[in-house]
């Protein structure tokens, strides 16, 4: 465990943030446990750690959204522990949210004006416009100034949040999992943005799972584990540390950062020679769909055969989750057909599609927090009689033993990884013919992703037909037979996974540069 000598002496102004004995308790659960952290001024500092480590809680405590149970926080040497969030913002603490929360019914420019007018209500209109435009240009949003925030895709929303925080002239910028849900090209853009803001005067704290961002932006970092500071130090050293790897990085990211030379063996599934003669289970033709005014899917055709595992890839805003929602019924298609198992389900509401056999493991898990683990599972076993329900329950408990241990616990008490296991288990309880796994690795540490994908591999081997929507391209291609790439609401490319995996040009074209983020 690498440590750092506590800086004693009067040079507390060396650090933009110092926490002393910081603790946050929720009833019996200790989210942040006696953390002493010193974040140096003027640098980009990273905070990493597995799920449930307390990273977002820490951000909430520093930004003022949460009140500490005990301990103090010093900002530039001043104790701000009791200061409410708005006051901290006025003193230059800006933050972004894990899931962006712009003011959805305001334009991009108005979002920035909120920050401006609350601090300087009497600023002249011209000055205001200048400052807003300057920040918009700086964050690459100049063209979208009059767009309603609701219509922005994910990366734009993240930029908007950064821009909004920049309007505060922050001395400290907290970026909370800003890389989540972005693909490679978008991550590069984000890293550029961070570099442009890191001017030596503004301190930036990056809380991240996407290791690439941490590696390329942060000089130093701290590792959190179960609410306590586990390690800290120079980035490369910390990431190479064996113990850190054990708790967090899993085997997948040992030593080198290129995702090609991974140590774990790709599962050896060969394409079944009889595959082409298998029945088509799901056929989608010319499907269009969207939310409100926005058209997201512009004409999707897809065929999935029984027993196939198909990966759905693509940039953000391309429509992957919309496609999942349209297939499962949460979103009604505006055109085209969806035929499942010979039946036209295009106009069927989602609960009836489940009964037909389409199961959707939704993005963000969406487990029922006030129901127990077992109730969460049982609720999905509609109409099955007792013995069948029991059998399925047992199968899922075998697949995920952790769920069996926690079966009487309420959903709220599960960690992120356990919630994902529950969500996967729940999607299997109805004995579905097709399961759509929507971004199951979002926000999870690599070691947890390993476990989940092992489970998925077992399901695949047992013959389950699945659609896998994934940001982590490598994992998806390792698991799937075929991959289809969505671009601007249509499939631009589809082919065997092995081809996609090895064809660098294809990947760069459609998964790298292919996405402008609109």
């Amino acid at each position: 465990m690498t440590g750092r000598a506590a800086s004693n002496g009067d040079l507390s102004s060396d650090f933009i943030i110092e926490t002393r004995g910081l603790t946050k308790r929720y009833g019996g659960l200790v989210a942040i446990d006696n953390v002493n952290l010193s974040i140096p001024r003027g640098e980009v500092f990273g905070i990493i750690g597995p799920n449930g480590a307390g990273k977002s809680t820490l951000v909430g405590l520093i930004s003022g959204a949460l009140k500490p149970s005990s301990g103090t926080i010093l900002y530039d040497g001043v104790d701000i522990s009791a200061l409410p969030a708005a006051e901290r913002a006025r003193r230059g603490v800006g933050r972004t949210y894990q899931i962006p929360r712009p003011f959805l019914d305001m334009t991009v420019a108005e979002n920035l004006e909120v920050a401006l007018y609350s601090a300087k209500p009497f600023i002249s209109a011209r000055s205001a416009r200048e400052q807003v435009n300057a920040t918009l240009t700086r964050t690459g949003l100049a063209r979208e100034a009059d767009l309603i925030a609701r219509n922005l895709p994910l990366l734009r929303r993240k930029r908007l949040e950064v821009a909004r925080a920049l309007m505060l002239d922050p001395r400290l910028l907290l970026l909370d999992e800003v890389g989540a849900g972005l693909i490679d090209a978008e991550v590069s853009e984000l890293i550029e943005l961070v570099h442009s803001i890191a001017d030596g005067k503004t301190s930036i704290v990056i809380i991240e799972h996407v290791i690439r961002i941490v590696r390329e932006c942060c000089r130093q970092l701290a590792v959190l584990h179960i609410g306590a500071k586990f390690a800290e130090g120079q980035t490369d050293a910390a990431l190479a540390d064996k113990e850190v790897a054990a708790i967090y990085l899993g085997t997948a990211h040992r030593d080198d950062s290129t995702s090609q030379s991974r140590i774990w063996t790709a599962p050896n599934h060969s394409v079944n020679p009889g595959a082409s003669r298998r029945d088509v289970l799901l056929r989608i033709t010319g499907v269009t769909a969207g939310y409100g005014q926005a058209r997201v899917l512009t004409g999707v055709d897809l065929e999935v055969k029984t027993g196939e595992a198909v990966a759905i890839l693509g940039t953000n805003g391309a429509g992957k989750t919309t496609l999942a929602n349209t297939i499962s019924g949460s979103v009604r298609a505006t055109g085209g057909n969806i035929i499942f198992d010979g039946h036209d389900v295009t106009n069927l509401p989602s609960h009836l599609r489940l009964r037909r056999g389409i199961s959707h493991c939704m993005e963000g898990r969406r487990i029922f927090a006030t129901l127990s683990v077992e109730e969460n599972l049982l609720i999905a076993a509609r109409g099955a009689d007792r013995s069948v329900r029991q059998r399925r329950l047992e199968e899922i408990y075998t697949l995920f033993p952790a769920l069996h241990t926690r079966r009487r616990n309420l959903g709220t008490s599960l960690s992120g990884g356990e919630q994902q296991m529950l969500a996967i288990g729940r999607s299997l309880m109805s004995g579905p013919g097709l399961v759509i796994f929507d971004e199951i690795s979002l926000g999870l540490a690599p070691i947890m992703m390993d476990r989940l994908y092992e489970a998925l591999q077992q399901l695949r081997d047992s013959g389950l037909t699945m659609l896998i929507i994934e940001q982590d391209v490598d994992r998806a291609l390792d698991l799937a037979d075929r991959a289809c790439v969505l671009e601007r609401g249509r499939f631009a490319l589809s082919g065997a996974a092995t081809e996609m995996r090895s064809d660098r040009h294809l990947r760069r074209l459609y998964l790298g540069e292919g996405g402008d983020d609109e």
Partner: protein, 291 residues
């Protein structure tokens, strides 16, 4: 100077009455907890139950106290289409629209009651309504005991339904995350419709009991609406046992206030307690994991 005996009687009656009030509040609590709907028509559903009981007695001589379940079912069934056609289509417009619709329903029904049943004060006359029961040193009206037992019984049944049946599971899931519930096969629209009907049925059953114990007019519903809101907030929205405890607490406090300060202060004390709880602990006095 109020005698100790009077206080003891008052606490006991308040306790029992509170249990009955809890039944009247139960429907409101469930609907609020599951559908996030402020049902301003709750009071008229209550009074509707009282009227049905009244006319049932008049027409057939059957004591409404044994016909509580059918009365509840009738009102619940009548409430189903209201939810289906008037409230369900409004869910996407935010919480004010359905709330105002329930208000519209409330004033329409109240007006119709006045039109057809006249504004006269009514009461379901039963002999046992005035008979006192002596429990040791304390004297309470016998009908309060009946009402209390019945109310607690119904509350227990509803709790059992919500906690242990698959419908109850669907109900709780719909309360937490309707989108995810639909994705696992729950017919959320049906759940909402049935929840609303259940709420109306409970209100009507409670209303019948109220009609036996007290008198009522078409306008009485509004008073009970407010009291019931107080109970729901005290006990926690959607928390079934919390509603029972909240009701009893309110009943006792109101009774004591009436006996010590004067009748006019009964409702005031209730409201002040309500406001205090809202200010200090709006999620209710009890943390429950019901709907």
């Amino acid at each position: 100077m109020v005698s100790l005996e009077a206080i003891a009687n008052s606490v006991a009656s308040g306790f029992l009455l509170g249990g009955i009030l809890a039944l009247t509040a139960l429907g409101l609590s469930i609907v609020l907890g599951v559908m996030r709907l402020v049902n301003l028509a709750h009071g008229v559903f209550l009074i509707a139950g009282a009227y049905v009981g009244f006319f049932l007695l008049q027409a057939t001589g059957v004591d409404p106290i044994i016909a509580l379940v059918p009365i509840g079912v009738v009102i619940g069934a009548a409430a189903l289409p209201v939810q289906r056609f008037l409230l369900e289509p409004l869910t996407k417009f935010g919480p004010e629209a359905p709330m105002m619709t329930t208000f519209g329903i409330a004033i329409v029904l109240e007006n119709l009651f006045v039109l057809y049943f006249s504004a006269d004060t009514r009461s379901i006359e039963r002999d046992y309504a005035t008979v006192p029961l002596l429990l040791g040193p304390v004297s309470v009206p016998l009908v309060y005991v009946f009402g209390f037992v019945i109310s607690v019984g119904v509350i227990l049944i509803v709790h059992a339904i919500v906690s242990w049946t698959s419908f109850g599971r669907d109900l709780r899931a719909s309360a937490v995350d309707p989108g995810a519930a639909a994705a696992v096969g729950v017919d959320v629209r049906r759940v909402h419709a049935l929840t609303f009907a259940l709420g109306a049925a409970c209100a009507a059953a409670g209303g019948t009991l109220i009609g036996i114990i007290f008198s009522f007019t078409p306008a009485s519903g509004a008073n009970y609406l407010l009291t019931d809101f107080a109970i729901v907030v005290l006990g926690g929205m959607g928390n079934i046992f919390g509603t029972l405890v909240g009701g009893i607490l309110l009943g006792v406090l109101q009774s004591l206030a009436g006996v010590t300060l004067g009748d006019g202060y009964r409702d005031l004390v209730g409201l002040v307690l309500f406001l205090a709880v809202l200010a200090v602990r709006p999620q209710g006095l009890f943390r429950g994991h019901a709907a």
